[in-house]
Symmetry: C2
Subunit: 231 residues, 2 copies
Amino acid sequence: MSTPGKHGPETRSRILDAAEELFVEHGLDATSMRMITTKAGVNLAAVNYHFGTKDNLIQEIFQRRLVELNRQRLAALDRVEAEVAPEGPRPSQVLEAFFRPSLELATDTEHGGRTFMQLLGRTYTEPNAFVRKFLAEEYAETLQRFLKALYDSLPGVPREEILWRFHFMMGATSYAIAGTDTLQLFAGKFDDADPARLMPRLMSFLLGGLRAPLPDMTHAKTQKRGRSRAA
Amino acid sequence: MSTPGKHGPETRSRILDAAEELFVEHGLDATSMRMITTKAGVNLAAVNYHFGTKDNLIQEIFQRRLVELNRQRLAALDRVEAEVAPEGPRPSQVLEAFFRPSLELATDTEHGGRTFMQLLGRTYTEPNAFVRKFLAEEYAETLQRFLKALYDSLPGVPREEILWRFHFMMGATSYAIAGTDTLQLFAGKFDDADPARLMPRLMSFLLGGLRAPLPDMTHAKTQKRGRSRAA
DNA sequence: GTAGAATTCAAACGAACGTTTGAATGAGTT
DNA sequence: AACTCATTCAAACGTTCGTTTGAATTCTAC
């Protein structure tokens, strides 16, 4: 079936790399087959020959990266769980295991890692049903394990709150990676996008948010206006 | 045929409402003129007649909401600045002035406010150049005033750090509004999407992140790429 | 060196896109 | 009544889309 290339084994990867860049630049829908094949320097029909459909191409792009990314995340979680056997890992260690691999991938400019992470961040909110479906499948196991680890590391905190805060953290991280230009458009300056400095900045913020005092939900149902107390 | 013999100014707003919903559901590109006019129950040519082009329609949808949203934000900032004349507002008050109007708009299900805020959250990362351009223009003044207020409320904290954290906060908020279904896909349960409970949850998280200890950047500078070298 | 499979290629496919057209239809004015 | 002007309508415009086709080309193996 998928017997490796006889002719030019480069063609497949040339397409993948070109498509990845174009998807980041223009979005999934706005990137046409002709743009991809032109940039890759291959024939138009090559995409359908090697990948079948455009959706399949998209799926392969995400899979080749996500499988490796989540493998690293789970390995990191295994590591910290093995280290601190008795009491289990601390919340900061769980967060590090989850977010550091993605930030390190976002640092890699040589192999397109940064390109892909920008694409991934944008795709979390992509309405495309096909994309959302396998994104959920690809993340299911990883999310489940990390949420459990986070629950265990924060005994006494309602799981619903942890889930929400994990949601917030993923949003902050995605924007940090995907949309440097977003705030750049907004705020002007912002020349310093050095990803090596991003990690400590983001981790401080995420930990501060995760460990913030729980909100007072006593009259949250009807509350329209009013000042939630800040510690 | 579809509208029995009546001419009316409804056509414009019918198109706007239908388009807003469809843009949220399928994205800007994937929503066609024919989908919009069919849902609105108007003739295909009506969009071009009333709005000129599809891009103009998109722009009008965002403008009619964003102008009002940023007006509310600035009014709220004026209010807190007038109240606490001498020492200036506290960070929590600045954040409230910025984020509460958007969350309240996201609560409004009757007039499509929630629909629009989901669309807006997704659009922050939209590659569409046309959309990004006027989004930046529309936000320029508001962002500038709020960043200044935030700088003043946190004397001694490097502005670069505040800018980053504001970026993180916008990311977390956008995801909280736009992508409840994102985490829902990931995590399963999550039935409770009551926006009235979202506000205190989010504010606690944001304040915790904003006031987190500053990261230690002592040796983050020189390290460019991964840890290929042992220290 | 020739058979046969794998890959590339130029060309075309039908469908869907945003937009334009020109005639039909309505309400308001004189 | 007739005229005006804004709006609606069915139909078509040219373009681009993702995909398919069938012949050429290149590689592998005998």
